[in-house]
């Protein structure tokens, strides 16, 4: 029954305790330094380059499958897609007609308030890599890193709304923490009445919470939540989610509000990394031309 074959294991392993203590202390030191002083950004960045081949190797069969599926779609499907996209484009262009005017008006109003925070400047599109990070945390790995100018804390959007923010930057990849992660919070306001609060993740991809609203707060199911731009991390005015459920217990001082995220947190494959204007002017080199998405 015994499947071990080498006789070597019957010898003494000299210094097992010593090596165990040595490695454990090393690991503990790493934990402390990483947690307390956050000095390991560089080392981590280098290590992430080493991990990159493994991640690529795991992701590439899936990428290949996607590519294959894309390339064998029939002409009919493509034509149908094209008609649909053209129709969508018409609607979008129709809506866009007013955009320039509104943008200018917003700028004027903001200038009046001497507050230009939360205006997006440029963006880069990143692809979610087909790699699972941690089953118990809401994070994804994206194929853009420090070499593309990504920085920690950067806001990440998808086509539906706010997706999350950059938690950690590697040289070639970066880790994005989703708005639904239990450790994530985002300043929001209710679009209908401007009520400001904070939306906190739950660890469940399809649910956020508003834990700081009083029972008497003016929230109804269906209200749209947008980013408030307070705190400076996220651009203002992007959809975060819609109110899915409001539970008011008169005995409690705070209401129990559930939010359905606007972004397709579990499905999006292309993400938008955005730069905010004021920070961009101070911290970043002059903007490169925005890369065109691949598809």
């Amino acid at each position: 029954m015994v499947a071990f074959r080498s006789t070597e294991a019957s010898g003494r392993t000299t210094g097992l305790l010593f090596r165990c203590v040595l490695y454990s202390l090393l690991a503990l030191a790493l934990i402390v330094v990483d947690k307390r002083y956050d000095n390991l950004g560089k080392i981590r960045r280098l290590l992430s380059v080493v991990a990159y081949p493994v991640q690529i190797a795991v992701a590439s069969p899936f990428e290949g499958w996607h590519w294959l599926r894309d390339s064998v779609t029939t002409r009919d499907v493509l034509r149908a897609d094209k008609t649909k996209l053209e129709a969508e484009l018409r609607v979008a262009q129709f809506r866009l007609q007013r955009y320039e005017a509104l943008e200018a008006e917003t700028q004027r109003l903001r200038a009046l308030r001497e507050n230009t925070a939360g205006v997006t400047d440029r963006f880069v599109i990143g692809d979610v890599m087909n790699v699972d990070l941690d089953a118990f945390r809401e994070r994804v790995l994206v194929d853009k890193g420090a070499s593309d100018g990504i920085y920690a804390g950067q806001a990440v959007l998808d086509s539906g709304g706010v997706f999350g923010q950059v938690a950690r930057v590697g040289q070639l990849t970066s880790e994005v923490i989703l708005v639904s992660d239990a450790a994530h919070a985002i300043p929001v306001q209710i679009n209908r009445n401007g009520l400001r609060t904070v939306a906190v993740g739950t660890g469940d991809t399809n649910r956020l919470k508003l834990p700081y609203l009083p029972t008497s707060a003016d929230v109804v199911v269906g209200d749209l939540l947008v980013t408030s731009g307070l705190g400076g991390g996220f651009p203002a005015g992007y959809p975060v989610g819609t109110i899915a459920e409001v539970k008011r217990d008169p005995a409690q001082s705070l209401a129990d509000v559930d939010v359905k995220p606007a972004a397709a947190l579990d499905r999006s494959r292309e993400l938008l990394f955005v730069w905010l204007k004021p920070q961009a002017a101070e911290l970043l080199p002059p903007p490169k031309p925005t890369p065109v998405p691949k598809k």
């Binding site: 029954m1 015994v2 499947a3 071990f4 074959r5 080498s6 070597e8 294991a9 019957s10 010898g11 392993t13 097992l16 305790l17 090596r19 165990c20 490695y23 454990s24 090393l26 690991a27 503990l28 030191a29 790493l30 934990i31 330094v33 990483d34 947690k35 390991l40 080392i43 981590r44 290590l47 992430s48 080493v50 991990a51 493994v54 991640q55 190797a57 795991v58 992701a59 899936f62 087909n130 790699v131 699972d132 990070l133 941690d134 089953a135 118990f136 945390r137 994070r139 938690a167 950690r168 880790e175 450790a183 660890g203 991809t205 579990d266």
Partner: protein, 158 residues
């Protein structure tokens, strides 16, 4: 002696790499919580099979790789794997004469200890993961131990 250890390093490194790839292989969310810690099992195997070829170093660096790939505090998995790898090395002579069932139970204990260290470091660094599903992995891992023994035995014969 020298030659033997050098020969044994290659399957060691290769199996660790494959296990690392399995650790990041995308799975549906439902199955994801049940994903066993492949790399940990492989490290245990090498700690028991040939401790002098550097099982403990393998444990430490595999742990570091897991830290980087999972994006957690650097050193967390390294600490857990080092401690449990040392324990496995210490128990290796007994484990080799155990019946398969007892082996699985020992592996279960080792994997639970591993999860516990992770759990403790998670809590100590201020981002606790409190779902119960994390305690499932040791079960699955222990059930997988006989399979791993078979596969690794084949690898080793080459």
């Amino acid at each position: 002696m020298m030659r033997e250890t050098r020969i044994r390093r290659l399957p060691m490194a290769l199996s660790a790499l494959v296990a690392l790839a399995l650790a990041v292989l995308p799975l549906p969310a439902v199955v994801d919580a049940f994903r066993p810690d492949f790399l940990v099992l492989v490290v245990f195997y090498w700690c028991i099979e040939s401790p002098r070829a550097g099982g403990l170093s393998l444990a430490f660096f595999s742990g570091l790789a897991l830290d980087v790939i999972h994006g957690v505090v650097l050193g967390q998995h390294a600490l857990a794997l080092t401690l449990m790898g040392a324990w496995a090395t210490n128990l290796r002579l007994r484990i080799r004469v155990f019946s398969m069932l007892s082996q699985c139970l020992v592996v279960f204990a080792l994997l639970t200890g591993y999860q516990f260290v992770l759990f403790w470091v998670d809590g100590a660094t201020g981002n606790p993961v409190t779902t119960f599903s994390r305690w499932l992995a040791p079960f699955i891992g222990a059930l997988l131990w006989p399979v791993l023994l078979g596969v690794m035995g084949k690898v080793h014969e080459r």
